[in-house]
Symmetry: C2
Amino acid sequence: MGLLDRRFEGLESSYLFSEIASRARRFAKAHPEREIISLGVGDLALPLAPSVCEALVLASREQGEPGGFKGYGPYEGRAFLREALASDYARSGAELSSEEIFINDGAKNALFSLLSLFEPGITVLIPDPVYPAYLDANILAGNRAGFIEGGPENGYLPSPPESAAASLVYLCSPGNPTGAVYDADGLKAWVSWALERDAVIIFDSAYRSFIRECGLPKSIYEIEGAKECAIEIGSFSKSAGFTGLRCGWAVFPMALEREGVSLNKLWRQRIAVSENGAPYVVQRAALASLEEPGASECARAADFYLNSARRIAAALKSAGISCTGGLNSPYVWLECPAGLSSWELFDMLLERAGVVCTPGAGFGRRGEGRCRLSAFAKAEDCERALGRMLEVLNRL
Amino acid sequence: MGLLDRRFEGLESSYLFSEIASRARRFAKAHPEREIISLGVGDLALPLAPSVCEALVLASREQGEPGGFKGYGPYEGRAFLREALASDYARSGAELSSEEIFINDGAKNALFSLLSLFEPGITVLIPDPVYPAYLDANILAGNRAGFIEGGPENGYLPSPPESAAASLVYLCSPGNPTGAVYDADGLKAWVSWALERDAVIIFDSAYRSFIRECGLPKSIYEIEGAKECAIEIGSFSKSAGFTGLRCGWAVFPMALEREGVSLNKLWRQRIAVSENGAPYVVQRAALASLEEPGASECARAADFYLNSARRIAAALKSAGISCTGGLNSPYVWLECPAGLSSWELFDMLLERAGVVCTPGAGFGRRGEGRCRLSAFAKAEDCERALGRMLEVLNRL
């Protein structure tokens, strides 16, 4: 037996966003005179909302006061934040108790760690294209991945495959990178499929705060039966600007049992061994993003990004470029013109327009020939990037 | 094949500190009139040091300003903090580059996650008694655990076993729960042992800031050859009061290679899949704890706890109770008098003295018949607890 886990050899040599950053750095170094605007990685232009920042500052100040200092907290997160999230879910029609919600330091880590609940080697279904960390996490877990394909033919919203047997399936809605959002019927089909097979759905709702169309589910628990078959992963990164503060949550409903074991109990055991909870001051800031006036301030920030996304989508369409997303999502997903591959378009936009996008190939085989633009930039940067991109694209 | 990972069944049904908390809660509920003082879980009485708190507040305030907001950071942590840690190591004679240091959200998570670098099923050596999460993490990793026993016969500092073959060995110095500290010769023996066998040492230095005796190593990298065989885990929890803020680090030296693979590179791949770095504001506060005047303020807090530990140890000894620790460590490790088991003494101290300790049995088989007292309480609480405990112990 060897010492090192050979599964690392199955990973792509560099993680998508590292590769993008390193190409952009190389270009900037070679062309110090050029201004580069990033519509690539999903990081944010707006600072923390005033009330959220104020809550963070206040909680931070308390940590220096004898009566205000908070040390180790519950592994599952502070009750005040779990209760506020349960109330937030209730407002959109999903009834959850605070014991079903676990606070963590961000969705990325939770998406990785939850795989440790399952026997290594299980079969998982992963959308293609999708956030690449799902696949990498499953490679490291030793699981067998099958793909559910999204494309123009199904609006990037794969339906359950009749035949495929799988223990886990990932759904991301609103989708990253596609911006596509499942409606209630779409999710109902997946819940039925999972219940019939005793499969577990991992529902990634990181972009839920961008849903503006009435009737589109923000949580899978708005669908009957989902509590018996779904884990939901949520994040404050995009809803409240926490990309640098790090806070998210995972929902393990009490009704979710497999092989006679409660997954809620299993997750509780798992985090007792590996976690000490998210930082108290960050949890206090997260709370402020759920309560007024913080919630409205955060919603206005989301509106700002959505407005940019709509402008990007409209401009591309007017230039004859097909794209989806940008409606209930901060992402615009475009078809590369002139038969360009996604990394070819990436390099062209970087070199000729000084704009960083995310090449679709990084999101899976079906992402090839497409690129993702993020609307998280400053309004003026977004406008300038758009102007420079259109100049390049119109010349093709 | 099943769905759920059966290795969870190998865990103790409740994690030590959860069990302690639940017994204390039950007692408090049954006896609302009694004051309970905790010398149990290693949480802290003092608030954040003024300069550390100020840095946290300042960084938090910046997050609400357009130019000050920080989003996604490097997975491995901010360069300013990695560089400050490298300088800190250099001051005690360990030369490390900032590329060898990875910031994380606390030692507990890092100790768990680093096992994913290794083939499941390897043999590991774990001190007994020791921090129980080492064993639980290895149970979940599917590894085979052997034990290196500590006791009065070796001052709770096990030497390398001549015969035992193992891929990994854990060392914790100053030790939790025993407070025992390896000297340079003790660590040299372990480094030679590991180099001879291509084994990897996981050196937990979470309590390094309590070392006051000259010449005792604060880092395993003060020992020649350690960079070829050791990973070190560090924490701001006890050195700077970060139990609630969550920040630590892991060192993967460039020279640490196995099977032709750099563990530094492997860890970099691992965190790219699962992490997004520790919160920026927390990293800024951590930096302040390494720079003046924060470093001196934090050292004074450690002195305060050390002073309490010495008082506890002296009082116990004057009552005829054997104990170790309390010198370069915030923990006092005592022998249960009158043949009591460790949970018996726990219950007795809780019920008769209203004091919570940590039963030694929770730290391993060799912890039976012993208990850990933590000096992290307020001075006046510590005094009162000590008085009440001595009353009970003197009556035995």
